[in-house]
Assembly symmetry: C2
Homo-oligomer: 194 residues x 2
């Protein structure tokens, strides 16, 4: 159960056996069935979760009821309310499983205990957030500055496995375009290649 997360952690920091055991003791294994929620907007969910297997869609519902998709998180990603420092803030995001998903969940209070007892984890989570932040910054730049075709090509180059796992209309929503426009775009690109 801990093989993947231990490998992930080992890329950032070295742990003793005792530290590893303590870390494991704070993680709760959770299974989320396809089409069910790990979190719904409006809930007070102070946690972060590491994805062992599966795919989680993180999204916001706008005032017209449309989904604004922030990301599709798959194996080896962390998901949750990174910005929820106290664990008391209500989240604005929905986290929904697109596949049967296995996670290791740590709540904010236990995470603080972990930092206190094994301060090395500050480094691991700092590096994790730096990466997440880089992704988010590039996403914002793409959304604001780049045409749909370039956004799509960036997306499939960065996340080559996602188009096989996620329905096309969700990829369109992620890119902020209609499914029809995405179909046209893909047809145009296929024609260009041939």
């Amino acid at each position: 159960m801990f093989t993947e997360i231990d490998n992930y952690v080992a890329k950032c920091i070295s742990l003793t056996e005792n530290e590893k055991e303590y870390f494991h003791s704070l993680l709760n294994h959770q299974s989320v069935k396809k089409k069910t929620f790990l979190q719904q907007a409006g809930e007070t969910c102070g946690f972060e979760a590491y994805i062992i297997k599966g795919c989680i869609k993180s999204y916001y519902i706008d005032e017209n009821g449309s989904e604004v998709i922030l990301h599709f998180a798959v194996e080896n990603w962390w998901i949750g309310d990174i910005a929820n420092f106290s664990g008391n803030k209500k989240s604005t995001l929905n986290l929904e499983a697109l596949e049967d998903t296995e996670l290791l969940v740590i709540n904010i209070i236990d995470k603080e205990k972990l930092y206190e007892k094994v301060p090395k984890f500050e480094r691991m989570f700092r590096l994790m957030i730096q990466r997440t932040h880089e992704t988010m910054m590039n996403r914002l730049i793409s959304t604001m500055a780049k045409p749909a075709e370039e956004r799509y090509l960036e997306f499939i180059s960065k996340y080559p496995s996602i188009p096989q796992r996620v329905p096309q209309h969700l990829i369109a929503a992620y890119l902020g375009i209609s499914p029809e426009f995405l179909s046209k775009l893909k047809a145009k690109l296929t024609k260009k290649k041939s």
Copy 2:
């Protein structure tokens, strides 16, 4: 010179006098005149900088030559290439002073030395990136999901001092609307109030 940054750090971690001195020894004071650059896109600038006084505009130039503004950073903010782990990556962002600006700059190599010698700084920078990330995530949600009026109201409520310091056409660029549309929006809101 170090009063502001010491207060900032003290909100996250406690330092001994020796640790504080070591931290100060890694910071370089830099003055950037209004309308000049701290960094230009394409440069290999591995640093982060704390703003003592002034205002820096962080932006990306799109393929039509238009500015896509990521943020206006003022006193007590950090600016730089947070995602530039190695210090070797070419930046895509321009950092330009909108006012005469005073900064304390630390380069990526010295920051790694700091983490090694005073690991507590992992916590400080983790907390800093969490906040920056939260801002960026909310910005992305606003950009993708909220109408211009709501985006403008959010902006002046979050950053009440910025409209007095930054020209209106730049605020329009930040919001992704034309200066004319921003004028109309402001007139409409003033009318609503009266």
